[in-house]
């Protein structure tokens, strides 16, 4: 990273005041240290839940701006909890950014969490730098939100390579930001399930 860019990054301000986080982690120390970091970033003291069921009960009646879940909850996998959130019809809860904290960064575990609809996975232990940069990235990066029968969550594609045959077939290639579009309504396009799976593959 260039010296000028690094200086600009240090000078740039981010206002996280008033941001409420829901923190779900069974480890008391990790919970304490993350809560400490969030407060020092200027965010509200996070709401703490210790299980998936308690989290669901809380979210039925409260809104939060950011969710941070441990990958392994005492009563369920966090993937189940994420899928529940993503399928809530109550907007904007279903669009809430979700960060998962895990020590087990094996590829299959990460894929399960990603495919449940998490925005970001962070390897524990979490440093202040990593946490702040992750939150900043979530706040500053606009990602489309995909809703299909099998997947509801942020667009999992990060690469923006040209298609091999040069033909743009992805739906987002022709959609302007700011719209909510039903593809079936828009151009009566029909997707078979296999082609849809290919389109969503990372």
């Amino acid at each position: 990273m260039g010296e000028r860019r690094r200086r600009n990054m240090s000078r740039a301000k981010i206002n996280l005041g008033g941001v409420t986080t829901l923190l779900v982690d069974g480890d008391t120390f990790m919970r304490g240290s993350i809560a400490q970091m969030l407060r020092r970033f200027g965010m509200n003291t996070p709401t703490i839940c210790e299980s998936g069921a308690a989290t669901m009960a809380h979210l039925e009646h409260h809104y939060v701006e950011l969710c941070m879940f441990e990958a392994i909850l005492p009563d369920m996998g966090c993937a189940e909890l994420i899928r529940w959130i993503r399928r809530q019809t109550k907007s904007p809860l279903r669009f809430v950014p979700i960060v998962v904290l895990t020590s087990y960064t094996l590829h299959r575990n990460l894929a399960i969490i990603r495919d449940a609809g998490a925005n970001l996975i962070i390897k524990r232990p979490v440093s202040p730098q990593l946490l702040l940069d992750s939150i900043t990235w979530l706040a500053k990066t606009s990602r489309s939100f995909i809703e299909t029968a099998k997947y509801v969550g942020p667009d999992r594609r990060f690469r923006t390579l040209e298609p091999l045959d040069g033909k743009h077939k992805r739906e987002t290639d022709v959609t302007k930001i700011g719209d909510t579009v039903s593809l079936d309504d828009r151009n009566e396009q029909t997707f078979s399930e296999p082609s849809l799976n290919r389109a969503l593959a990372v």
């Binding site: 701006e65 990958a71 996998g77 993937a79 189940e80 087990y104 946490l131 702040l132």
Partner: protein
Amino acid sequence: MTRVSKMIHFPKTRLAELAERHGGMTRSHALEEATKGVQGMLDVGLDMIRQAMAAIEATIYSAKQGRLDHAAMQGLLRQADQIVTMAATFAYATLEEASKSLCDVADGLVARGMTDAAPIIVHVQAMRLMIPGSANLAEGEVALILAELARVRDHYRFVRLSSGAPADLEPSEIVT
């Protein structure tokens, strides 16, 4: 052919809206504050390292005929995971490395259904030397100990969890 309904939304999250407001703090200031906050938890962290270490030692020194059962190994893994977290949070790099190595070995033994206590014991003894406030080790001595721990892993051909193991060897804790 099955018709699949698909929607694409472009939501602006509340987090993004709030972060766009004027004011706030610079990255360097936020990090400085957060680091101070975490360092303020050092005493708690050290206590937790000592407690986890004592629990691991109690387990391994109660091994019968040099064997540890599956439940003991799992308990040991949980405690070692706690030590890895603390050591990494407070930048005790050598203790972190030794604890990670213990996790690799314990996880490998569990995955293969083995019950050998010896590779576990040698790791725990090494970790005891690296606990803050224990032995005053020179850099060369630390390197030598870590190299010996690596030889133990190599002997069993255990993969390193931290470097990403093949899918068939992963722990099964994440339930979908």
